[in-house]
């Protein structure tokens, strides 16, 4: 895994240079920030997804299906509305607050309802996210903000330039924080009673973990925009092979997320050169194919009926998610 990661990093700059023989300046202003932005996005979104899945005890919860992304977008809109001359940082603060609040409300809600069915939780999340998205769109139309907002609705890296992307570095300390508390998240993921038995404060860890996940998501959304699939797919793919012990899978999840976004970004840039497709599109296509492929592989080689069940629900969540994406575009 690490060798592959290093390999990609080594290759990318040289590719960039040969593609742009002009000067190193472009590299420094645009290419390097872009690469770092991509890495932070991949790492951040997949780790945020991993944390949310563990804490909610549901494999289909992610920043997309847990209303975090739409809440962050709502926060950005509020910032644009109330502080027209807002800087990146003030927008970020609004996005942080909204993302954290939205995620808390969602989790509080699913805890109150206590769904028996694993599919219900992400479906409620998608609905909740769409409600927030609807309000966002309504406000955007009303105040003629659609243009300004659209850059945050679909994720892309073309605007990641020096001076307006550094916020995404916040992902790094947050991911480290997540690693430090990995065991706490794991224990909380085993349930309230299990946590209490081991002397872990369930609610505190739950909401602290969600806060971390929401802040990671928000810092990515503010810089890059909505990148939906990674938080769902990457942790699931890694867990299929490596299990659910966060200490063991966090690094793999982060690396795989980074590579995945990097590959998607390169495809997005190459397909219709010299133009660029939004990365969201590539991730959506590649991600769904990858996920369905893995589920089919699991079905064929699966050893237990439980796998069959989760595969079926996975299909539903995927379908719902792509429908959701279709509605947006």
């Amino acid at each position: 895994m690490i060798s592959l990661f290093v390999g990609v990093i080594d290759i990318t700059p040289s590719e960039l240079f040969s593609g742009n023989p002009e000067q190193a300046e472009i590299f420094l202003i645009s290419r390097l920030p872009r690469l770092l932005g991509i890495l932070c996005t991949g790492v951040g979104m997949s780790v945020a997804g991993l944390i949310m899945q563990q804490l909610c005890m549901n494999k289909f919860v992610s920043p997309t299906t847990g209303a975090t992304i739409s809440s962050a977008q709502f926060g950005i809109l509020l910032a644009l509305l109330f502080l027209p001359g807002s800087t990146l940082w003030s927008r970020a603060i609004f996005a942080f607050a909204a993302a954290i609040l939205g995620t808390w409300i969602f989790v509080w809600f699913i805890q109150r309802i206590q769904f028996k069915d694993v599919v219900m939780v992400p479906l409620v999340g998608i609905m909740f996210g769409n409600v927030i998205g609807g309000v966002t769109n309504y406000l955007a139309y009303k105040y003629e903000m659609t243009q300004a907002l659209s850059s945050w609705l679909t994720g892309h890296f073309s605007l990641v330039l020096r001076g307006r992307y550094e916020l995404v570095y916040l992902v790094v300390p947050l991911v480290i924080l997540a690693f430090v508390f990995a065991n706490h998240f794991n224990i909380v993921g085993m349930g309230r009673e299990f946590s209490k038995n081991l002397g872990v404060h369930y609610n505190l860890v739950l909401f602290a973990g969600l806060t971390i996940a929401a802040m990671i998501t928000a810092s990515v959304v503010v810089v890059v925009g909505s990148i939906s699939y990674i938080g769902l797919i990457v942790p699931n793919v890694v867990a299929m092979f490596k299990g659910d012990k966060i200490r063991g899978t966090l690094v793999d999840t982060a690396l795989f997320g980074a590579i995945f976004v990097l590959v998607c970004d390169m495809i997005a840039r190459v397909v219709i050169m010299p133009y660029e497709l939004p990365i969201e599109l590539i991730i959506g296509i590649l991600g769904s194919i990858l996920f369905i492929g893995l589920l089919l592989y699991r079905l064929k080689h699966g050893r237990k009926a439980v796998r069959l069940g989760s595969a079926g629900t996975g299909g539903c969540a995927c379908a719902a998610n792509s429908l959701d994406g279709g509605g947006d575009s």
């Binding site: 005890m57 009673e193 012990k245």
Partner: protein, 250 residues
């Protein structure tokens, strides 16, 4: 551990109604009774999982609500039925969680030794790298017990440990409960539905009816035709097998 005037109400109805008893240390104590008699709620309250409405639960001279959660989890372990088994953790990772109150997740050499011993004691060596969701019900239950052993507590509380297990695995589970007490010197409190398991493997039985204690005493004291008929409202016969009173109901 002393329980005094314990009361718990749901929607104004007392499911546990001023229950008082003392848990004799170093014994196996079974809580039995019909559904809804309050035995699981009592178990939940004395293990601090459920908040009580009134009464005292004194553990080592201090009320359990005054104990630090982490300290209490070094002295008292509880295993409920609602354990999340979809999680892909290996047996060893699960058992290692038992050391969490001591080391907070960073295992010292001493912790690893405890984990090794617990896995060995539950004869799980060959499964230790398998994911718990791939194990059979009996093996998984043993993995959870191994975690509790690694937790190294004086008190072990088990909520219906034989639930969903077949006769072979349920009986083995009861033998393990007995060994926890006899070999490791733990006080084991368990909620049971099968009266005969309670009779054969425990030292004391506490029988609940309608949120109150109907009878608390040694196995011989509780396992009488009259007491059991009163509690369960069906006809009972008591037979003696290997020196233990076992019951037949019809």
């Amino acid at each position: 551990m002393i329980i005094k005037d314990l009361t718990k109400k749901y929607d104004g109805k007392a499911v546990v109604d001023s229950v008082s008893f003392e848990i004799p240390k170093g014994n196996v104590i079974s809580l039995i009774g019909p559904n809804g008699a309050g035995k699981s709620t009592v178990m939940g309250i004395i293990s601090r999982l459920i908040a009580r409405d009134a009464g005292l639960v004194t553990f080592d001279g201090t009320d359990i609500s005054k104990w630090k959660s982490k300290e209490l989890s070094k002295r008292l372990a509880i295993l409920t039925q609602s354990n999340h088994v979809q999680m892909k953790l290996t047996v060893r990772e699960l058992v290692s969680f038992g050391r969490f109150p001591y080391s907070g997740g960073r295992l010292t050499e001493e912790d690893t030794a405890y984990v090794d011993k617990a896995i060995e004691y539950m004869e799980l060596q060959e499964f230790e790298d398998r994911f718990i969701d791939e194990l059979s019900g009996g093996q998984r239950q043993r993995a959870y017990i191994a975690m509790v052993i690694a937790q190294d507590t004086e008190y072990v509380l088990l909520d219906e440990p034989t639930n969903n297990l077949d006769i072979y695995h349920a009986t083995n589970m009861m033998k393990i409960v007995r060994r926890l007490c006899d070999e490791l010197g733990k006080t084991v409190i368990l909620v049971l539905h099968e009266i005969n398991y309670a009779a054969f493997y425990s030292d004391y039985i506490c029988a609940f009816v309608d949120g109150k204690i109907a009878k608390f005493g040694t196995v011989a004291e509780v396992m009488t035709k009259e007491t059991l008929s009163d509690i369960y409202r069906v006809d009972f016969e008591i037979m003696e097998i290997s020196g233990k009173p076992l019951s037949i109901y019809y």
